[in-house]
């Protein structure tokens, strides 16, 4: 499964990048939008793009829900902050800058702004635990969404349009890989160990000198920064933002990715992200074939079936070899 996805990603990265990279490398042309020029059809291009972004989201949430045991329900909010802030800054201040500069600015602004919100929510919500933290984060993300809906500078209810589309499938794949590697590094180091310690036994962690609050805030900041990165990928590949994308439904979808794949497993987060991105499209084929409108029913049924057959998710706590943990 993994090999299949990985090879698919790499092939598509090559397909979408290769010719331009060879022809006019000096223009850093792999930053151009290439949905139309791609060797694969625009439909598959969109599906794979979403897959990459979802994997970033799912992986980043694993830091919170999976590793630190913090049940949060507002990940779409962080994504929205990253997407809107970066899009606004690039559109307003760097509309004609070189794509490379736009890209790095977008990534920096998107991740920083999202992590700033993560920090605030972290401090505000972390005295609560369990379901209460879930409700607080859900509330926060809805506040973010409704606020964006009412800010005219970012398009208000019409949404934000004409965002430069300098992020393509190859770039998203690359960013997703980097995010996976970063999350793996965190997980395997002393901060990751502290996260697992806090998740498994907060009192014991506290009594060997780990400040649980500090660990949780760190997890929040990192996770929200990476969700912001996903938002940046989304904004600058789609070219259009609407608050409709960032409802709590999206947050739940990201949680479902973690749970389906195996809560606490990085590989699981990736697998779950891939599954829930591809499943609706596979089912679309089924629907086209049968001619019956049962796509969403099948989608829900598949998820229920997975949870019945594999209550700990597809991978449980296991990791793929290349993502295996020394801890």
């Amino acid at each position: 499964m993994l090999a299949f996805i990985a090879i698919g990603c790499i092939l598509n990265m090559l397909f979408t990048m290769s010719f331009d990279v060879l022809n006019d490398f000096h223009q850093i042309s792999f930053l151009k939008p290439m949905r139309e020029q791609s060797l694969i059809s625009p439909y598959y291009y969109s599906v794979l793009l979403l897959l990459g972004i979802n994997i970033i989201l799912s992986t980043s949430l694993a830091l919170l829900n999976g590793f630190t045991g913090l049940f949060t329900m507002g990940h779409a909010g962080f994504m929205a902050i990253g997407a809107y802030t970066a899009a606004y800054v690039v559109k307003s201040y760097l509309p004609t800058a070189a794509p490379m500069l736009q890209l790095f600015t977008a990534l920096a602004v998107g991740s920083l702004s999202a992590s700033l919100f993560g920090l605030c929510i972290g401090f505000a919500g972390l005295r609560l635990s369990g379901d209460y933290l879930g409700m607080v984060t859900l509330g926060f993300s809805e506040i973010i969404r409704v606020s964006l809906l009412n800010i005219e500078a970012v398009g208000g209810a019409r949404g934000m349009t004409d965002i430069p589309q300098f992020i393509n499938l190859g770039m998203v794949t690359l960013i997703a890989l980097i995010v996976i590697i970063l999350v793996k590094r965190i997980r395997d180091g002393r901060f990751g160990r502290a996260m697992f310690a806090v998740k498994e036994n907060e009192m014991a962690a506290n009594l060997i000198g780990i400040n649980p609050l500090e660990v949780k805030v760190r997890a929040f900041v990192l996770s929200s920064a990476l969700a912001g990165v996903a938002g940046v990928c989304f904004a600058f590949s789609e070219g259009y933002l609407s608050t409709q994308t960032f409802t709590f439904v999206k947050s739940f979808e990201i949680i479902a990715m973690n749970v389906i794949g195996g809560l606490g497993s990085l590989s699981g987060a990736i697998l779950g992200g891939a599954m829930l991105s591809l499943l609706p499209e596979v089912l679309r084929k089924v629907q086209d074939f049968t001619g019956v409108d049962i796509r969403m029913v099948l989608y829900a049924l598949t998820m229920i079936l997975i949870m019945i057959l594999r209550p700990k998710g597809l991978l449980g706590q296991k990791e793929w070899k290349w993502l295996s943990s020394p801890n």
Binding site: R185, F196, E200, N201, L207
Partner: protein, 261 residues
């Protein structure tokens, strides 16, 4: 010589329940102390107060000459008090070595950026903490389990691992809460030897709660007896054995509750 730790008329009440009442005790550095008493006497509560889990209702708690009453547990841990738990609290999904490595967290110097970029400093620190964890595991006789999941260890070894982890932050005072509970006689003997060795080689002050009277009488230089939240006796093993109040407290328990856990 000065006390390493001291309770001064310390009381802790849960509503009307006097879990600890006017407890005063002093611990001198480098010694091995026993804390005994029937079930529910308030022994674990004393540990909880010493480690900051509970703030005392009244009285003083001093460690290294500093008042630590009500200080956050992680701060007290960093000052140098380590402990184990009556009901084991390991990080079961982490490996045995990682359990010990978590205990080095507060000594870590690499920051998040070091970690994200896998800097030299980060790698060096990881390597050295793994090495130090292995040394502690070797000391506790667990080195061959380093890569196993903590949750997969047999019960007796989990108890040892908890001690190894408690030693991680290099505590000056180690509190062991019924370390021999649930162990068979062979394991108990092994553990007894280990605690003695640990206290001598590492020159740590140890305060030990234990139901196994023989274990306590064998290795503890000085014993405190707690009953109904109050300190009813303290002294050397022989003195304690002959103390009528202590005998009464224990007989009372034997009639109503049997051998305890």
């Amino acid at each position: 010589m000065a006390f390493i730790a001291e309770l001064k008329e310390m009381s802790l009440y849960f509503g009307g329940l006097k879990a600890n009442h006017q407890v005063s005790l002093q611990l001198f550095p480098g010694k091995l102390y026993g804390l005994i008493g029937p079930n529910g006497a308030g022994k674990t509560t004393i540990f909880n107060v010493l480690t900051g889990v509970y703030a005392p209702s009244s009285g003083e708690v001093r460690f290294l000459g500093k008042s630590v009453a009500g200080l956050a547990p992680y701060k007290i841990a960093r000052l140098g008090i380590g402990r184990t738990f009556q009901n084991i609290r390991l990080f079961k999904q982490l490996t045995v070595e990682a359990n010990v490595m978590t205990a080095f967290f507060s000594q870590g110097e690499s920051n998040l950026l070091d970690n994200l970029f896998a800097s030299q400093r980060f790698k060096r620190e990881e390597e050295s903490s793994r090495k130090r964890a292995h040394e502690l595991l070797k000391f506790m006789g667990l080195l061959n389990h380093a890569k196993d999941l903590a949750g997969s260890l047999p019960y007796g070894k989990q108890r040892k691992l908890e001690i190894a982890r408690a030693l991680g932050p290099a505590p000056k005072l180690l509190l062991l809460d019924e370390p021999a509970a649930g162990l068979n006689p062979t394991e108990t003997r092994e553990l007894t030897a280990l605690i003695g060795k640990l206290q001598q080689e590492k020159n740590i002050t140890v305060l030990l709660i234990e139901h196994d009277m023989r274990l306590v009488m064998d290795i503890c230089e000085f014993i405190f007896v707690l009953d109904n939240g109050e300190l009813i006796a303290k002294g050397k093993a022989q003195e304690i054995q002959q103390n009528p109040q202590v005998i009464a407290a224990y007989l009372g328990v034997d009639e109503s509750e049997g051998e305890g856990e």
